[in-house]
């Protein structure tokens, strides 16, 4: 099973994974939990890199799938917790249900009591949602700015929907107090393992012929259409896969965090994910890791002291990255390495388009 990676990158990857593996032993529980949550975000960012960095689909609403997966798991754990903790939950049902006048868990929610049903159900449900959305959007060649804006609206609507249906979702405060796997080193390793598997999977996809077609779609969708590819199908496929990845990440996040709210579903997280990928480097896979860890890590370290200006700083950094370093950190490094190699081979690199993606290709 070839990993398709040059020797030196493979060694680096093993090193990084090793560091992440032993991290809890040196950093303590709090940081371990933090890193676990960050890794969930990394997986989310990875899924965004697949659809945006490689295929050119800018979705500003993919947190819907992350949050969706999270809600399935959180609900399931909450139902279980409420049913088995009579001391805290006398009536055996979650608090937010009680506050909204429910006396028993609704029938259609019952199956969620079993986590081994709820988690896969969440993943499949998000996949289905993405498939339907992708079908509606991509079959009609809605892309570029229109797609971005529609996904943004979708995200906002789902967020409001979640808040509104408070009897079932905990409303604005979300789902809390359901026991969690925090400070559990084994669970941390599970998250790490899933992250590694997802990276491997993403690499397989992007280095395959399929992956190359995706990139061709990003570069020039029209040209690929006329080479006989049903571009919409490719987009729908990768969009669905990305959604399911996000759902897994969201489920793990919910299990680790112990709290889930509308924030995990709304436009804020959706756009944050795009920012992480943009800063790390889109179309590089590893950029998703670098960008997320860098920004989230800096946020946790700096916001403790500079809480008041952290938001402002992120905004400014983002603007600078987009304007000056559109390939992101990893992307710019790779591009420089390529240039150096080309120069060494005696060829002067000609005009280079700045970003790794073509923009709206004219349709008519």
């Amino acid at each position: 099973m070839s990993l398709g990676l040059p020797r030196r990158y493979l060694a680096l990857a093993v090193l990084v994974i090793g560091v992440l593996f032993v991290f809890p032993f040196y950093a303590g529980d709090f940081r371990m939990n933090q890193l676990g949550l960050f890794l969930c975000f990394v997986m989310f960012a990875l899924s965004l890199d697949l659809i945006w960095g490689f295929t050119g689909i800018l979705s500003l609403g993919n947190a819907v799938y992350f949050g969706g997966g999270a809600y399935f798991v959180a609900l399931s754990l909450k139902l279980k917790y409420a049913a088995t903790n009579p001391a805290r939950y006398g009536s055996g049902i979650p608090d937010f249900m009680e506050w909204n006048g429910l006396t028993a868990v609704p029938v259609w929610m019952r199956p969620l009591e079993n986590i081994w049903f709820a988690a896969p159900a969440g993943i499949l449900a998000m996949g289905l949602l993405a498939f339907v959305f992708g079908f509606i959007t991509f079959k009609r060649h809605i892309y570029g700015v229109y797609c971005a804006v529609i996904t943004l609206a979708e995200s906002l609507i789902f967020e409001e929907l979640i808040i509104e249906k408070q009897a079932y979702t905990g409303g604005f405060n979300g789902i809390t107090d359901y026991g969690s796997y925090s400070s559990n080193i084994n669970f941390y390793w599970v998250i790490l393992a899933v992250t590694v598997v997802f990276f491997w999977l993403a690499r397989r996809i992007t280095t395959s012929h399929f992956g190359m077609i995706l990139q061709s779609i990003r570069e020039n969708e029209l040209r690929s259409e006329f080479f006989g590819f049903e571009v919409a199908n490719y987009k729908i496929f990768v969009f669905t896969v990305a959604a399911m990845m996000s759902a897994v990440a969201g489920g793990l996040y919910a299990a680790l965090n112990g709290i889930i709210s509308h924030q995990e579903i709304g436009p804020l997280l959706s756009v944050e994910g795009v920012i992480w990928v943009a800063v790390g480097g889109r179309g590089t896979l590893i950029g998703a890791f670098v960008g997320t860890i860098l920004i989230k890590g800096a946020e946790s370290l700096l916001s403790e002291q500079f809480a008041w200006m952290w938001g402002l700083l992120v905004g400014l950094i983002f603007i600078l990255v987009i304007v000056l370093m559109p390939d992101g950190i990893v992307g710019t490094l790779l591009r420089r390495a390529r240039r150096r190699r080309a120069l060494a081979a005696g060829r002067a690199p000609a005009y280079e388009p700045r970003a790794t993606g073509a923009e709206d290709t004219p349709t008519a």
Partner: protein
Amino acid sequence: MAEALFAQFLTGFSIVAILLIISLGLAVIFGVMRVINMAHGDFIMVGAYVAFVMQEYFKLNLFWGIPAAFLVLAGIGMTVEWGLIRQLYGRPLETLLATWGVSVVLQQGIRLIFGPELRYVRAPQLLDGDFAVPGSNLPFPYFRLFIIILALGLLLLTYWILYRTDVGMRVRAVNQNRPMAEVLGIDTRRIDRFVFAFGSGLAGVAGTILAPIKTVSPGMGFPYAVDSYMVIVLGGVGRLVGTVAGASVIGESETVLAFLYNNVIAKLLVFTLIVLVIRVFPQGLFTLQRR
């Protein structure tokens, strides 16, 4: 029930007017520059804060706030266009993301200056109270009537500028065929700056109008931004009639549906409607075909 429905329909008019005011600026910008300004909602928000400042520090009422907001936001718009949009010319997705950065900066900046608390702006006394809608007993607030009149006024102003002035003609030329306009000697960069400033100014005005209705806070702008995007997606690009159509359909549908069900269901249904319409008209209901 029928009377209540009619009342909602009337209220819907003012909602349509609000949508029109907040979308007009963006529609003009997007029509000419094909740029989605993710900070549009925050421009609206800044407009609301301008009204607040005028009220608290200058003791001037909303009628002064409106032109002040226009000028302030036109200035901000010009700065953003010059410093940012121009650098990313020809890359609409990049521009969209960069303006998101501007949005964050504006929100955080306002939060630093004014704090996160809600602020209140009063409507001018002149417009307090209701009047009876002729032909029924329904009360209709003067302020909402003012909004409708203002919306029509701004629409007419935009129309007049676009179709009756020299500048407007150049804007339309750039809108329809940018390379050709350049070849004919039109300074498209200048036009872009003008358009962006004008659109931003309109956003500022929208903010002052909304300030008395909704409470003013740093994060108030975002839902309006999304609303305005939907108006453009549905109504189409490059033609004023499209923006009016989009605002009307969305405004009335949302109001009536919100009355029949609730706010969130209304939004969901309208969103579904938009997506379905887009399937048939991928570029909106009334889009100008560019060569």
